[in-house]
Symmetry: C2
Subunit: 236 residues, 2 copies
Amino acid sequence: MFKYKFPRPAVTADVVMFTMRADDLAVLLIRRGADPFEGSWALPGGFVDENEPLERAAARELEEETGVSGVPMEQLGAFGNPGRDPRGHTVTVAYFTFVLAESVRARAGDDAADVAWHPLRSLPLRSSFSPRAKPRTRSKPPPITLAFDHDVIIDAALGRLRERLDDPLRPSRFQLVPPRFTLAELQRVYEVILGRTLDKRNFRARLLARGLVEPAGATARKTGRHRPAQLYRWNR
Amino acid sequence: MFKYKFPRPAVTADVVMFTMRADDLAVLLIRRGADPFEGSWALPGGFVDENEPLERAAARELEEETGVSGVPMEQLGAFGNPGRDPRGHTVTVAYFTFVLAESVRARAGDDAADVAWHPLRSLPLRSSFSPRAKPRTRSKPPPITLAFDHDVIIDAALGRLRERLDDPLRPSRFQLVPPRFTLAELQRVYEVILGRTLDKRNFRARLLARGLVEPAGATARKTGRHRPAQLYRWNR
DNA sequence: TCAAAAGTGTTTGCTATACACCCATGA
DNA sequence: TCATGGGTGTATAGCAAACACTTTTGA
């Protein structure tokens, strides 16, 4: 038991981890196996330990629940509306990141009954998220319910992620693509995140004119019955 | 006494309130009259009450210590490094705002032994803050000490404030100038915050071309032995 | 008449955008 | 040979930046 003179809100850290999956922007959620919102999907996260830096708490919870570590995170902000946690006043500090889906070894554990990527289009969010001008017809997944105010947090994280990519002036801190990538791959990531199509020639011209990317050797990849694409890497 | 199964960090809310004062960017600080950092200067702020929304806590503390209320605030983020408060692990959620100095009726009270505006150039900050290309020669105030990690928070707030004004595309949420203002006044505010000079003709042309401001009647003000300036108001 | 700040246009270069066809490859 | 995605250049418009002199007023 820990005693204090004044009541204290609990403090948690949550992580919104985005990835690109099957041409959709997806976020990693865990299905809650415990008391509040049992059965609902929630962001990975949990209580901040005593004398634990906030970002470390977020990274720890992320690692415990998803196996992901070492990814750069950005703080999104604090969310502390009373009522967001039925157990009592809880302030959460949210972080967000973008990772390659392959780098995640999701594993259920602790309070998590299940871990899975969820396309944003399948989530009940306020933001009208329409990832492609030409959405590939696909059977829509059934709507799911999100725990706490995690819908609001995911919405805010999406907004910030878009801000970060709004000008492709400099490379993102996040790993949007593997170390070697085709420009078409990179463009697809931008398009899905920003929710609009980009002009292929303008996109390539900008990246090359500013020297952001450089051809990665004479290497090319063969992926279908069409011309193989040049591979690029980030410049410095 | 309040008891919890697990230790909890304390949660506070702090406010970085900027203003324009004597052609300098200034921030409002209170001199601490109580235990940790007694005698040092600190941001107005304090503990978040149970079931109190974070922004309301920030507004309440601001009102209690400065008499300012009803100003729009923006959340800067959460700061929770262990060691930032010698009393124990404390997470603070920082907000920032910009107000007209006249609107503040500063009054010492509670834990505050004194309340005063401090020019940023007199504070020990990391950011090389040089508000004017032509700094008016002025006797430098003696250096002061800041409590907690408030130097870091003020630095971050300055960065965000600058981001908000970086493109004068739309009017700020904050009250940078009185309801009626001259374009020179407005330009001076931008210059001081951004820390660089702006071209008078370009500045005016942009504001007018986009219809952000409009002349406030035929009114003019006479302030010296020179031509009086046209007054403007924000458009909508 | 002078000091002080107000006010006013044009040019130039960059950046964003729009736009359509040929190329290389494997099936 | 054909379907598929890879790859390329140019023209235009809008915006940002640089730049200097005249006007109005009160002392």
